[in-house]
Symmetry: D2
Subunit: 480 residues, 4 copies
């Protein structure tokens, strides 16, 4: 899935503690996390050496390298910082929703950056508003702040612990106070969060790839239910909540979101993707001349798939590096224009060939239709679509921006119908069991697979409608 339209990560977060260039390292980490959110970004920093430090903040719409420049970085001084990248939605592109959120409280300045989604935010918010709280954004993360400000006691770590008992859902958080950095993860561990060390400084960040960029050393992951407290004395661990057993790591992190060079949830993303391809090959082989991938997540899957079957993997679709924000379509329609701007089919690979196309997932299916049509226009004789994850039949409430159920292709059509709709000669999905095998899960699975199975790890709040039984029951494969 190259096109970040149907399935979006909430965001990526970073916290730096104890380096004079704290904002600068946050900026580089956000750059490494850019794949987790391209809509907006922000950094807030403060100087731990001051008695009454104040936040220096910069936020903006757009990519990290567009929003930050030397002048801006020179202005965001200080020895600690937190940062955030967020994805692009159509609706609420409002600047007041950009994180980190910073505020002044009786405890001094506090800043927060959040990855995830709180499932009981609406109720809490309504209650707080009735008590006179003022909300500036539409973001559920703001609930966390207000609860923090209203919690009892003058010790921030106790307050955070108190808030953790009130909120439900997914949260990986960094919180910066005037003298400490906190890295917090919900008891299911939906979203990743890792700790690294950079000389004397500590780094808390969504994925290890950010540590690699700045030459920081991986220390460990923040555990589900854990609050890590970082100050000049080092790291202290608290477990305000017991880790849930089994945990509920988001399975879309290894399938699609995380960068292939990252190691999260204790596993190597690149290897997991390759194994998904291998399992897919076992479950759903194809008799073809060549295997090609839909970039980028599909590439290691295709390598595993081809290798397992002994079929050559080819670069049938090349990603264009110069895609900008907008393109102006000519009056006379160019067929599948949007896809062609981003992916270049290589005719010499496709012409008169039987091709297996490996994609990481199918959400709405609208892009897949166009890609298949484009491949056929380039001369492919047969197209066998293979998908490295099971059919997505349910919405996510933990921070993945899945479309409404009526727009999830697999919630509306059987595999037989989908094959025809997409225009493939055959279509095969990886099974849930196959996915578990690829992820190395035996009995009790530590991954959340609710979007494939409808089995949510916690009782989802009443506003969420029960969903009809899915039409894909047993079928994972169809052919013409």
């Amino acid at each position: 899935m190259i096109f970040q339209k149907s399935l979006k990560e909430e965001c990526g977060i970073v916290g730096i503690y104890g380096d004079k260039q704290a904002a600068h390292y946050a900026y580089l980490c956000l750059y490494a996390l850019q794949h987790r959110g391209q809509e907006a970004c922000g950094i807030a920093s403060l100087n731990l050496e001051e008695d009454a430090p104040v936040f220096h903040t910069h936020k903006g719409m757009g990519l990290v390298n567009e929003c930050f420049n030397p002048d801006v970085l020179a202005r965001i001084t200080g020895t600690a910082s937190i940062g955030h990248v967020r994805y692009s939605t159509s609706g609420s592109k409002s600047e007041q929703n950009i994180q980190p959120f910073t505020f002044n409280s009786a405890l001094g300045p506090l800043g927060i950056a959040h990855n995830g989604n709180l499932t009981n935010a609406t109720e809490i918010r309504k209650r707080l508003e009735n008590e006179g709280s003022i909300f500036r954004s539409n973001v559920d993360s703001e609930v966390f702040i207000h609860l923090l400000a209203r919690s009892p006691g003058s010790d921030i770590s106790k307050r955070i612990a108190h808030v953790m008992t009130q909120v439900e859902g997914a949260y990986s958080l960094v919180i910066l106070s005037k003298n400490k950095l906190y890295a917090v993860r919900d008891p299911f561990g939906f979203r990743p969060l890792v700790i690294g060390k950079l000389k004397d400084a500590y780094v808390a960040v969504s994925e290890t790839c950010a540590l690699d960029l700045i030459d920081a050393k991986f220390v460990r992951e923040v555990e589900p239910g854990e609050m890590v407290e970082i100050d000049l004395q080092g790291i202290k661990s608290h477990f305000p909540l017991q880790p849930k057993k089994p945990s509920a790591f988001c399975s879309f992190e290894p399938i699609y979101f995380a960068r292939p060079d990252s190691r999260i949830f204790g596993q190597e993303i690149y290897q997991l993707r390759q194994r998904m391809g291998i399992e897919l090959a076992k479950e759903s082989p194809a008799d073809v001349d060549a295997v090609i991938a839909v970039p980028d997540s599909g590439v290691p899957m295709a390598m595993g798939y081809g290798r397992e079957l002994g079929i050559p993997v080819e670069l049938g679709l090349v990603r264009n590096h110069y895609v900008g924000r907008t393109f102006i379509q000519p009056q006379q329609d160019i067929r599948d224009f949007g896809v062609k701007l981003k992916l270049n089919p290589v005719p010499s690979v496709l012409k008169d060939k039987r091709i297996a196309v490996i994609d990481d997932s199918i959400v709405r299916g609208t892009t897949s239709i166009k890609i298949l049509r484009m491949l056929r226009a380039a001369g492919a004789k047969e197209i066998h679509l293979r998908v490295g994850s099971p059919p997505i039949t349910h919405s996510c409430y933990y921070g993945v921006d899945t479309p409404h159920r009526e727009n999830l292709l697999a919630a509306q059509q059987s595999v037989v119908e989908m094959r025809e709709f997409l225009g493939a000669d055959s279509l095969g999905f990886l099974s849930i069991d196959g996915l578990k095998r690829a992820l190395g899960q035996k009995n009790e699975c530590s991954y959340c697979m609710a979007c494939f199975s409808g089995k949510y790890p916690e009782a989802i709040h009443s506003t969420i409608k029960p969903q009809p039984t899915d039409k894909n029951g047993p079928g994972l494969f169809a052919t013409a």
Copy 2:
């Protein structure tokens, strides 16, 4: 005083109620109020016809015509709007301080724009933070919002009335709720606020010049202590607080801030300025060949001065229309470079002449020194500086950004010392009594003159240090 460096207005505000192009009219009113604030501006609008309207907001650093364009205006839809321009300070040029502030509350969406300064904001803020309130900005106006959110009752006008009993100081406010617009003025009436009518719509705005631009009809001023409630049924007046007697209109509005074509505090600004010149001529005449003004406020003063004395008024200093934000000075210093970029002295008016220079006020005196030096370099034989207001000896706590007392020239030097410091052949200020005469005040004066006299209209809060007796006692005139 052409240079908006030493004395700054807090801001200008506008509210529009009941027009499909509410944001557009707010934009034009802000343009007309641009002289009241050039740092930043913002507009928030909502659609009164919707059941659950939401704010559409745009804010930015810079001038109104830089921040708003057709695309932005097209996005800020709705039938009611509020807007704000604010001045430029060196320190806290933070985007989170830009008004209007909008927030969500149990009463629905609320927006506020504020001109003035609350003198007990710090205490209230501290108290609220201890109760769990979160502040996003450093602006005292935010206190008003929090008090509003925590006030009892479901009727917003009662809540506003309740807040008015708690805050002290200067405030002219517009508050927009999901179905009403409120225009509120403190009981002293420090800052102006007028009401106009544009077809079926109502306009509340700082100065009448904004009404003139959009062809709105002047209705009346909002009275001190009054809350005007505007809805589809029309205007309703409330007086939560008794107007103070005497009131305390800011005397710097007619001296410097307000636009000459505005009518506020029941008076015509242009005529007031001309009368200041006439009174100045009576108190402090000069035997000169020509009278020239320091643009812009000084121009009508110079006309009154020259006419009273029968001396020709000349354009000795022409304002440059193309001044941009920044200019790059060459390595070899150009003397008084900053002033020369903005004001062009006309040699043929000045060469070998005895000149009276009329300025509206002297704050730090740093610009006056340069102007006088520049005039002398252009050939003026004698320079007699006349100032259309009394010496400024005390700081303002009601929304004028006066420098610290140690930087107020007249708080540090006698008139005799100032004359020498500024390099004038003679120096004369208007007296407080002369200013009262020019403003048409007989016995009880409805204007605040604390910056000239130190007599503040209310007991100023304890954090404000008492100021030493001023050195200018009787003296308003000095000559070489």
Copy 3:
């Protein structure tokens, strides 16, 4: 005439020779000349100390302070520079038309900046194209370059002299070669050009106000027909052409174009304008309560007019300082919106008063109509329009962008018709003789008055159609 729409100067030019910050001084001079052209600007510099210097150039659309910043200035190094500002036309806003033009030739690098208009450029261009010359712009100045490149001899000053014998019309030029700066003026002296000294460096520039800004000393004007050659040895004067007698200084320079603090054609602009007002008062007095000006050129005229008649001059129209490039008009028309954005009428000056309005000139009359209507809406009881120059009945071919004759109001209507068209209670123009008196011209007039009289100083080229006799014959005054 505040609105630079109907009558436009071609441009302003500058050359700096012999200072390490040559580009920086050119930039400041262009800033001082900004009133001569707001569309685009450019600077080209080279280092005289290098054996094979190359031009460093920066050009752009917009104002000087928009196009140049510290980075750009740091890049345009060298000890000599030339610069240019040009006005805004609707049509050919092409970047390739921005001057200075620089090119490489057998003589080394050459750069040119031109103010004026060559009347035989079209013929020369056609001839040169047939001989294989390539033109990159639509600007007549390029003809000068090509002739220079094709002139015989290796001495540039001889080549320039040779070109001067071939071109006709108006030209004030600066030309920069690898070791010399040339300042050239046509034999009629249509456009101004003055020489100044800045320590060891020389400055050639359109108006003295630029010398004042950079603290350069005025040396003298370049004479009509003269080529001034500047090098490390100093100034050398050549007269390739005899100065024409009488010369033909553009009379619109003192009426409208030049800055009031400039001294050109041997005269002080501010004083000339005041004398135009005095002569106008003598020829066309008005029985009014107050005299007001249309800013900016009208202001000194109004001062002369009021003083001569003993009537008070008031600030009835205040120029807005925050006018940006574009403004978005609301759907419901605001009457005379464009004018109201730029000029604020002061009601207290106008209400129920009989007013004389002094404008410098009337070109199309479209703006005048709106101003008069706006003044009447502000309450003026009687409006007597007085114009400080004669009716414009003919087009200019020497560098002023006059509209086509059919759009010149005075070429189409008699004064009686114009008065009614403009909506004035009375209308009076200055006579040609009155203008001559104001300019201090006795018998032989050294100013070109072709736009008022149709008497062009040289035989205008055949492509220029003869114009019909003008309808304004004797009449310069009309009343209701």
Copy 4:
């Protein structure tokens, strides 16, 4: 070679003839050709249906999608257009060097866009300047224009033919006149140029990938020595010069420049690259655990290499999609920062593995050093560098911006020295014969291999110094 620093293509060109959206299609073609030049781009269009058409032009620094927007495209109207992308050099980033060049001549408007390099441009230029020609740019392409303007006759095709007899070197050109489009290629055919058809319109463009994007049909290539004349009657072929035998197609087009989905010189680029990998495997196998590529050109080479040897190909280096123009390095150095921003090494592929790294070529070697160091830091146990082309020992004079010979690694070091310098465990290059086999060349080779062999296809002009014998004589392989 992902880093376009050492070896740069001159540019990409396009011409569109006979479509109302000519500029729009040119824009899309330039987007598809963006890999051939990222510094600047431009389009010039005119309307063939007008009697006296004029060029509408837009040019700018930066990428196609940065320079062009809907407003710009709406302005560049007309039914024919030419366009150009050019690469980024450090020195002469001057806007006046951006193509297409348009000019006015006795033949009407003429525009030109050029890919290649004329080897006798300097002499011709010097001659023309002495005859009075003016050059505006430093680009050799301008020589072509001047010769065209000075050629005899009124028929443009004859003039072009005449110019082709005068210039030497590499040129693929599109020339647009008021009624015809010409596509011209030098007799050696150094640079590609193909013809396509889009409904009734014709397209001439550097690579077929641009035809694919706009759904145009490939017609044929322009032949070496051919001038294709396109007008409303269709295509006409002229051969002003005999095609040279053998021709001299640039071998770096298939190695590095061309897009893998293009077909030029009659061959499929993707397949050629894969064959280079196969030949490299035969000549220089490696005993490793995995094969990885340096993106992008190295990827198909790695696939061929791995497949030939039966070793798995892995994604060991992932290209970052969010690289912006500039990145701000922190004060404390991050090792190999620039490379890490662009390429992400995947630790799980590299850790403790013996790796063959396939790069397309080595120019200066500076990037290769960093990549190898980064791979080793990521855990690679052995690194065997394999290069899909022979050692580059000589500079190119035909449009590839090779560095000076002293900066070509292979011109300065033997393979043994290079291996050590780069830090590889072994190093192997493809031989010239191997490259010929990969390109399908038997006896007479139609590709120019001068940069590998020093045997230039034409007598290079005298200003080009003879180069010393290269040090790489026989050796193409070295091991530790």
